[in-house]
């Protein structure tokens, strides 16, 4: 068999039994690798659900303020953190999704094969690799030092993390829209902006929305960019634009390092809440992909 030089030579004249055995060993190893990945996943889910379910109650999810970590479960609740997570992640999505989709529109609809579009796409890929803690430091240096702690700063940090992800997923979806649709609308005399807004984006909306939901699901669990942009307070702060705030993820981080039973229980309860939020977003994304995606790979 002709094999590229430098590759391991494969000798098909080896005894058939041994070759078959090697094949079975390799296949077994692949399944074993899959099992290796399932073990921690199942272990984590089992622990979080079994320990979290006993902590969760209506008053845990909505009550407040968050009690000092020495107090046992049943005092106060994580309401402030739930509200904080929802408002900070929600506003981050409001910032990042329109900008990301428009960026993808530029790359796919306007830039084409030009160098600028290629550079922007390349940089978006590189930006997905920027560590989340660096995003936190970045927002700290350009925002917190001048304007103080606020939920808004947390939204900026999460938005910066979501932006390249939204660009990448929207771009993949726009690429799938057939050119015949665009050409048909140009033939009717529509301008490029009109074609993009009324024909191309609606055709790709299913994929764009599900990609954006996955980005939100990832962002909702981020801790590092929030630690020193929103601080971690104990009471509800519904004003996103001023004053320190709190979030489920940062509360888990603080409580996980505390030696008290009540704090541990609150950490597990918050972890379960966070995972349920993330999985729910992912499930909705899957449903949208299955139902509303017109052009799939």
């Amino acid at each position: 068999m002709a094999v590229a030089s430098g590759q391991p030579t494969i000798d098909l004249r080896e005894p058939a039994g041994w070759r078959r055995t090697k094949n079975q060993i390799a296949t077994g190893a692949m399944w074993f690798a899959f099992a290796c990945m399932l073990v921690p996943l199942a272990f984590v889910l089992f622990t979080v659900i079994s320990k979290g379910i006993s902590a969760i109650s209506w008053s845990f999810l909505t009550g407040g303020p968050i009690p000092p970590n020495v107090l046992p479960l049943g005092n106060g609740g994580m309401g402030p953190a739930v509200i904080g997570t929802l408002e900070i992640t929600g506003f981050a999505a409001l910032l990042a999704i329109p900008i990301g989709v428009l960026g993808a529109v530029y790359i796919n609809e306007y830039g084409g094969k030009g160098w600028l579009a290629r550079v922007i796409g390349f940089l978006a890929d590189v930006m997905t690799g920027v560590p989340s803690i660096v995003m936190g430091l970045f927002i700290f240096t350009i925002w917190i030092l001048h304007f103080g702690y606020s939920g808004l700063a947390g939204s900026f940090a999460l938005g910066c993390l979501m932006l390249p992800v939204v660009i990448r997923s929207s771009y993949e979806m726009l690429k799938l829209v057939p050119d015949s649709l665009r050409e048909a609308s140009y033939a009717l005399g529509a301008t490029k902006a009109r074609v993009t807004v009324t024909v191309v984006l609606p055709a790709a909306v299913g994929g764009i929305v599900s990609g954006a939901l996955l980005a939100i699901a990832r962002a909702a669990g981020e801790t590092a960019p929030l630690l020193f942009t929103i601080l971690t307070v104990e009471s509800t702060n519904t004003n996103l634009f001023s004053g320190a705030n709190t979030a489920l993820s940062t509360q888990i981080f603080v409580n996980a390092q505390s030696p008290f039973v009540g704090a541990e229980a609150r950490a597990w309860g918050s972890a379960l809440t966070l995972i349920v939020i993330a999985f729910a977003l992912m499930l909705v994304a899957r449903i949208i992909t299955a139902r509303f995606t017109r052009y799939a790979r």
């Binding site: 068999m1 692949m30 690798a33 899959f34 428009l102 978006a124 669990g221």
Partner: protein, 327 residues
């Protein structure tokens, strides 16, 4: 507003007749808006580099080269040497890569070459679940469940290797549940989804004709993978591994909770250590002045390292993709 010189089907059609030889204002405004949104990526990357280095400059200038790369980190005496953190970051990421790469590539091969199409989708969903579990939840599980459990295993391994030359210095005494190795293990689990999905994309592009050719010569599936799939996807998989390496180095919260928080340069993998992202997460809150500048400086290092790794990864993936299209 400069005139748009771009080739545009709408314009080309319009310019043929007397109608609409210039694009309406709204149309051009939309293009400029889209361009601005795209350029924001560039702006943010530049701003990250500029604003963080500016804040870190006082550390860079007062500590000097030898101060930065020393192992002494003592906020009380204003000595901030980054060596122990750089070391811990690299060691944990390397442990994570050594564990995660074989597993991820094997799963990618399983998904593309072994399992039938309709089964591979559920497996992908399961991997996505892994990707969506927040870092802080891995950390919580790590510190409260994994660390106490793995402590005993480390201790028995350490007593088993006592006196054996190399193994003793790697896995020997002074074990702690929260250690370089525990952090590496958790990072490995966390980067498996990204390496798997990137390798899967690369491996899926292997031409069917190559694979069928190998089968036609009588190759078993494993021989087909080694002879047809692997030479084709090598480059792309290396790129995927580099992306995973970058992720492992930048991963913060999970590592911060299980790494042991003890700044030391040691060969003992079962001993406590520290890494750049985790020291920033743990100490930034109480830092000010020179201390804060040094922590931001560590962030600048991290940013530079991950940017270089990601640039290399994308370049490798793109080059190998081009070569494969040409072949």
């Amino acid at each position: 507003m400069s005139t748009v010189t771009q080739a545009d089907p709408a314009n080309a059609a319009g310019s043929a007749g007397p109608l609409a030889h210039r694009r309406p204002l709204g149309d051009r405004a939309f293009q400029i808006l889209a361009l601005a949104c795209g350029l924001l990526v560039l702006v943010i990357l530049v701003l990250i580099a500029v604003s963080t280095s500016q804040q870190a400059s006082s550390w860079f200038s007062t500590a000097g080269f030898s101060g930065i790369f020393s192992t002494v980190w003592n906020p009380a005496t204003n000595q901030f040497g980054a060596m122990a953190y750089l070391y811990g970051t690299v060691i944990t990421a390397v442990i994570a890569i050594i564990i995660a790469v074989p597993v991820s590539v094997a799963i990618a091969l399983l998904l593309t070459q072994v399992v039938p199409q309709r089964w591979s989708q559920p497996i992908v969903y399961v991997i996505d679940l892994l990707a969506v579990i927040p870092s802080v939840v891995w950390g919580l599980w790590g510190i409260l469940v994994l660390v106490p459990w793995i402590q005993g295993i480390y201790a028995s391994i350490a007593s088993g290797v006592t006196g054996i030359p190399v193994l003793d210095s790697l896995f020997g005494s002074n074990t702690s549940g929260a250690s370089f190795f525990t952090a590496g293990l958790i990072l490995a689990v966390m980067i498996t989804p990204i390496i798997t999905s990137l390798s899967r994309e690369v491996i899926a592009t292997v031409p069917t004709i190559d694979k069928e050719g190998a089968y036609a010569l009588g190759a078993t599936r494993w021989e087909m993978i080694r002879g047809a799939v692997w030479p084709h996807s090598q480059g792309g998989v290396v790129g995927a591994v580099l992306v995973g390496l970058g992720r492992a180095m930048g991963e913060t919260i999970a590592a911060a909770l299980v790494i042991g928080s003890s700044a030391q340069v040691t060969s003992r993998l079962f001993g406590p250590g520290y890494s750049i992202p985790s020291v920033i997460a743990n100490q930034f809150g109480e830092a000010s002045g020179e201390f804060r500048s040094a922590l931001i400086g560590l962030g600048v290092f991290l940013f530079a390292i991950t940017i270089v790794i990601n640039l290399a990864a994308r370049a490798i993936v793109e080059r190998s993709a081009r070569r494969m299209r040409g072949a």
